[in-house]
């Protein structure tokens, strides 16, 4: 009796597992694996919607070399990723320290700084586009108040990228602050108390205690920051500057695929992006682990 019961139960378990697993596997095969393989296939073909694909070998990859538009979009993307990660990260760290140090109002401050994170990047672009408007925008009026000359902001290739990055930093800083705050909460008070006994200044405490102990947070933010930074699209697309001054890699890919119908070429670009992200992540891991050994 118990034998039979056990067997029956096993069957029920197996059935349950299969009932969950089969659709799961099918789903991810269709929506992840097949597209990845198909993308690889497309990247070796000349392909638009209308004509049957023609095999072109490595042609699409060869064309990546010497493609000036691609270089300029990579430059834009790299500048965006580096500045948002480092400048945005630095600002967020400072604000997180300040918020962490206040006794009352920390929760309110955190909420306020987090508001822009909830806003869609398209809305951020639209709102800042209005603030940046060279003629009627508010920012130029603020400059005027301080006797500074009028700026072109998003309308000049010289300042467009910096302006778009500033707006993105405004949007994303609250997120980084919250991550830092979570890290800061995890640091035991006893470290600081010990340092205070030794007469350490606030800056010394930050430098010798906080920063080393927040290491995992820094690593996490660095790696995820670069991965998302290199895939930036929304902000730069909505806050576009003249002469392609804010056209990032994904936007160029999008344009080529869906406006010029160069599917093969765009797919080759996508794999280049993949390679760049993997390489950067590996390098960062390397650096991080090596430093750890030195400690």
């Amino acid at each position: 009796m118990s034998q039979v019961g056990k067997k029956k139960r096993l069957d029920a378990k197996q059935r349950f597992v299969l009932a969950v697993l089969i659709p799961t596997v099918l789903f991810f095969v269709f929506f992840n694996f097949v597209p990845i393989i198909y993308a690889f296939y497309i990247s070796f073909h000349e392909m638009d919607f209308l004509n049957p694909p023609t095999f072109v070998g490595l042609e699409n990859y060869k064309r990546l070399i010497g493609d000036t538009h691609l270089y300029s979009s990579l430059r834009v993307t790299a500048i965006f990723a580096v500045t948002t990660v480092f400048i945005g990260g630095f600002l967020a760290f400072c604000f997180a320290l300040l918020i962490n140090s206040v006794k009352r109002g920390a929760a309110v401050l955190r909420t306020v700084y987090f508001l822009p994170v909830m806003t869609s990047l398209v809305a951020v672009g639209v709102i800042w586009g209005w603030l940046y408007q060279p003629r009627f925008g508010l920012l130029n009026e603020v400059l005027k108040l301080f006797g500074l000359p009028r700026q072109m902001w998003l309308s000049s290739p010289k300042t467009a990228l910096a302006s778009a990055i500033a707006a993105s930093t405004w949007q994303g800083m609250g997120y980084t602050i919250v991550i830092f705050l979570a890290g800061l909460h995890g640091i035991s008070r006893t470290y600081y108390e010990a340092a205070e006994v030794d007469g350490a200044s606030s800056l010394q405490k930050v430098w010798y205690i906080t920063i080393p102990l927040l290491r995992p947070t820094f690593v996490y933010l660095l790696i995820t920051g670069f991965i998302t930074g290199f895939q930036v699209f929304d902000q730069l697309y909505v806050m576009s500057g003249p002469l392609n001054s804010t056209r990032g890699f994904v936007e160029l890919l999008y344009t080529r695929a869906f406006s010029y119908y160069q599917m093969g070429r765009a797919s080759a670009m996508a794999f280049l992006l993949f390679a760049i992200i993997v390489t950067l992540t590996l390098i960062q891991f390397r650096l991080v682990t090596r430093q750890q050994v030195e400690y």
Binding site: F49, L50, R135, S156, P157, P242, L243, Y260, Y261
Partner: protein, 429 residues
Amino acid sequence: MKRFVTVALVFMLVVGLTLTAGAQVTIRHWDWHQPRMNLKQKYMAEYEKLNPDVKFETQIIAWDDYWTRLMSGVAGGDVPDIAQFHNSQTQAFLAHLEAFPADLFDYEQYKADIINFEAAYLFDGTFHFYPVGIMTGLIFYNADYWAEAGLTEADIPRTWDEFRELAKKLTKYDANGDIQVAGFVPNNILGVFWLDLHYQLGGKLYGEGAQTVDWNNEAGRKALEFIETLIFEDRVTEPGFLSFTEAMGTGHAAMVYSWSWLGGELNNNYPDLNWSVFRLPTFDGKLAPGPIARNNHETGMAVMKSARPEAKDAAFRFLKWLYEETDYLVEVNLILGTAPSNRNLLDDPRIVSHPLISAVAEQVPYTNIPGEIPYEVESSYGLGMLQDLLFFGYSAAEALELAEAEANNVLKERPVKWYVEDLYVPVAE
């Protein structure tokens, strides 16, 4: 037995015929322009009444997505039977459009009646989208500012020198010396404006065979330097000023350069604005021999090759009917701000009495159609870049060199096959 079979066959045939005859045909149609669609729907309703077996199903798709959607539709089998067409997409779609059948449409008559028919519409002896109207670049002006400055129609400038003086006179600065009302705004359309000046000075859009563009030459530099003078010496506008549409609509421009479609936009979005229009000035004040500007055709509808067979025939019959409706052809041109392509309609009282369209009609004989201009050359590379280059400190020669290189880059990837620039016949004085 044999008899039974015959009877059965005849019976089936009869039943089949009556069924097909009574069958409904639904014609699917896409357009990106709501006002034009509204007008078409009016005529479609009328046609449905005349032909109870025909029904229409219409859909508006935004211009930005229209061509991608049509393209993927062709690939995936989800296409309209009749698609509104635009000739900037000729190269991509020509192979997928059904030719207008010669037994329904009288080709010889079209050759006689329609301006540029052979250059702009005939490909390998057939045409695939219907000619509707012609557009060209003009100067729009704010009639209130004009009157405020004591100007009348007699002051309409004929030469660019007169135009410069007028633009300077109409520019208003505030206490800080910032421009409040710009005398002339070519912002956001500067490359297109430049091309007209380039034509006036003897230049062309394309080099031999349209393999490359031909811009960085004496004519091109002179044309760009003229614009440079307007902006940096005369200060009638400035970099970062509102776009031509925006400035005109919101009363921050006394004059703007635009293609004639702006008329419709202004009427729709700024009904209170008091505006008028005049043809482009020239360097010597004369129109002939031309060309003094570029023109382009606003095309009508096309029937898709991959449309359902039962709808195709009905579609052509409908188009035949619609395009013989003089009222429709006049009304659609009024909506679009274009001059009718059909010469016979140019005398229509509704056209003659329309200040905008009569200005287009006056200028059109002196304008040239170069053929297809890839969208990228017009809006993102090449012509589209000229303004930025000029605004941000490049000299005319440098700007043209860079823009030319960018445009040639595009042409290398998307060669232009429809190229008719050299067919222009200079007009006698």
